[in-house]
Amino acid sequence: MHPILKLVAQRLALGILLLLAASALIFGLTEILPGDAAQAVLGQSATPESLANLREEMGLNRPALTRYFEWLGGFVTFDLGNALTNRLPIADQISARMSNTLFLAFWAAIISVPLAITLGLIAVRYQNRWPDKLISGVTLASISLPEFMISYILIFFFAVQSLTWGIWGWFGMSPVAFPSFASISQTMTLGEKLWAISLPVAVLTLVVLAHMMRMTRAAILNVMQSAYIETAELKGLSTFAVIYRHAFPNAIAPIVNVVMINLAYLVVGVVVVEVVFAYPGMGQYLVDAVVKRDVPVVLACGVIFAAVYIILNMTADVVSILANPRLRHPK
């Protein structure tokens, strides 16, 4: 077997093991902690008898291990049971909301990834000069604020205050306010949907951009310190040619890694941003369920979020194995 296939196969096997362990951890946590589904349905004042009856009815008396495997099997057969609060099937809710969340994350990624790499290159080109310092300053500021704060700052200025700005008149436009609620439906056209999610996409872009740019900058700077870069500089290539022809191809593996890690980060950022903009996605569903103590929904959403996060991180590892020429062409 080709050594690189072996490495990738090993990494995938490890990833699957990690997925199983993560699902067991999440399931186990809700088992160990006090209170269960029956308690949540009946409330604190339930009598022991009615609790025991309901547990019997819901099958909570069976051993935890049996229930764990049943629950895990539910992911394969796409039957996740019903929510405690409204008795609707969880799988239906999730499949509708999942596509909304992916839509939001997709557009945020499409905008932030090229922007972050370009800005990272600029920061390296003008290292320690004002463009670098400006970019670093802005990213430090956006890292120092939680996602929901950035959201409200953008809403305040671009959805409310923007109506009073004189700028619009200069271009002969009437004042524009971006939508502060991202409500989307199936009947909307793509343009309408994009307009509705403009502010959440902007927030997510800002949040990931900062991390991604800093890490891209560090990755390229790391490559720039190699001997072959010095050679390229000494033979008289322009700085951009050095970065573009010599540094960038060698920095691809770390940069892809950075991008994947940040896409994973995006998945979590989505949770908070969806709540702020009342966007009908997975994150809002999860937080709603936590507030209502709807444990089956929390379990299902939590495992899906964790799985996406783990899979993206695993992809990052696999890509960096594949992008390494030393592993591709072993001696």
């Binding site: 990690l18 362990a21 993560a22 951890l25 999440i26 946590l29 809700t30 902690l33 006090p34 209170g35 430090l140 500021a141 890292i143 120092s144 604020l145 939680p146 996602e147 929901f148 704060m149 409200y152 700052i153 809403i155 305040f156 959805a159 409310v160 205050q161 502060s180 994973a264 998945v267 979590v268 949770v271 908070v272 709540v275 999860l286 937080v287 369920a289 936590v290 507030v291 103590r293 709807d294 444990v295 929390v298 379990l299 939590g302 979020f305 964790a306 996060y309 783990i310 991180n313």
Partner: protein, 309 residues
């Protein structure tokens, strides 16, 4: 450590304590001094919230969302409006916003500090133990930490908070333990380097006990990277507790905290009322100033080691 002390000792001028202190302060870069000043101010305000807050924490003093005096003084208010009474105006049920912010800072900073302390004690003790003992204990701890870190902390926190009641104590324990995985990794990595040093070997050979090796040999030498990391973890805790409170599963009312103030006042944003944005300024300034201090500590310690990160 001892090595440095002996090389530094002769060069120290024998001046008075005050002059020494002034000299030490003048060596701190300006950015770190500003950071140190702002951080100290926030902690003092949190400590003496009851003394400096103009009104009671849950006391209704005026109308809903009264304008801020600060904005009026800066000329942001419309022409001809009378001078408002409250510095930052009032919140969604007429409580003084400055008072809420001060008490909110107290809650946020208290929870974040306690959680950081818990996270550092647990994480570093376990990390040092794993590094010193090695073997299956190291393997078991490290693989468990890998698993915990494979799941985003926000998701884990949401899963846990769906089962338990959010009180100040449970929040501290939850955040502290979730975050201790990061400290564990750092502490273990630093301690593995140190535990193969000759002086640790010497301590082992002369039969010192585990406690001595961890607290007297490894801890003093691992302290500076850990302290710099502490600043970053503290900021992470402030952001984390604010996010949880904003989502409605963190600090519960009537207790104020910065994330909760945003949640309470968010409706005002749509009417152009900026009450929900004040906590943003508070969090951002605190985060940036702690970052500046942490950067300085990190630079100082790396230069001592000859630039080794």
């Amino acid at each position: 450590m001892t090595d440095q002390a002996t090389t530094n000792a002769p060069s120290e001028p024998s001046t008075s304590g005050l002059a020494k202190a002034a000299l030490a302060v003048s060596r701190i870069p300006l950015s770190a001094l500003v950071g140190l000043f702002i951080t100290t101010t926030y902690f003092l305000a949190a400590l003496f919230a009851g003394v400096i807050a103009p009104y009671g924490m849950a006391e209704t003093v005026g109308q809903v969302w009264e304008p801020s005096r600060l904005g009026w003084l800066l000329g942001l208010a419309p022409e001809g409006t009378p001078e408002p009474q409250y510095w930052l105006g009032t919140d969604q049920i007429g409580r003084d916003l400055l008072t809420r912010l001060i008490y909110g800072g107290q809650t946020t900073i208290f929870i974040a500090t306690m959680a950081t302390i818990l996270s550092f004690t647990t994480g570093s003790v376990l990390g040092f133990l794993a590094a010193v003992l090695g073997g299956w204990i190291d393997q078991a701890l490290s693989r468990f930490v890998d698993l915990m870190m494979a799941i985003p902390s926000l998701i884990l926190a949401l899963v846990i908070l769906s089962s338990i009641e959010a009180t100040v104590v449970t929040l501290i324990v939850l955040m502290g333990l979730l975050d201790s995985t990061r400290v564990y990794r750092l502490a273990r990595a630093v301690a593995v380097d140190i535990s193969v040093m000759d002086y640790v070997e010497a301590a082992r050979l002369r039969g010192e006990k585990l406690g001595w090796i961890i607290f007297r040999e490894i801890l003093p030498n691992a302290l500076s990277p850990l302290v710099a990391e502490m600043g970053l973890r503290f900021i992470f805790m402030v952001l984390f507790i604010s996010t949880l409170s904003f989502l409605g599963i963190g600090v519960q009312p009537p207790l104020a905290d910065w994330g909760g103030i945003v949640k309470e006042n968010k409706e005002g944003i749509n009417f152009g009322i900026g009450a929900a944005l004040y906590p943003a300024i508070a969090i951002a300034t605190l985060a940036i100033s702690v970052n500046l201090v942490a950067d300085w500590i990190l630079n100082r310690t790396t230069s001592l080691k000859g630039g080794r990160g």
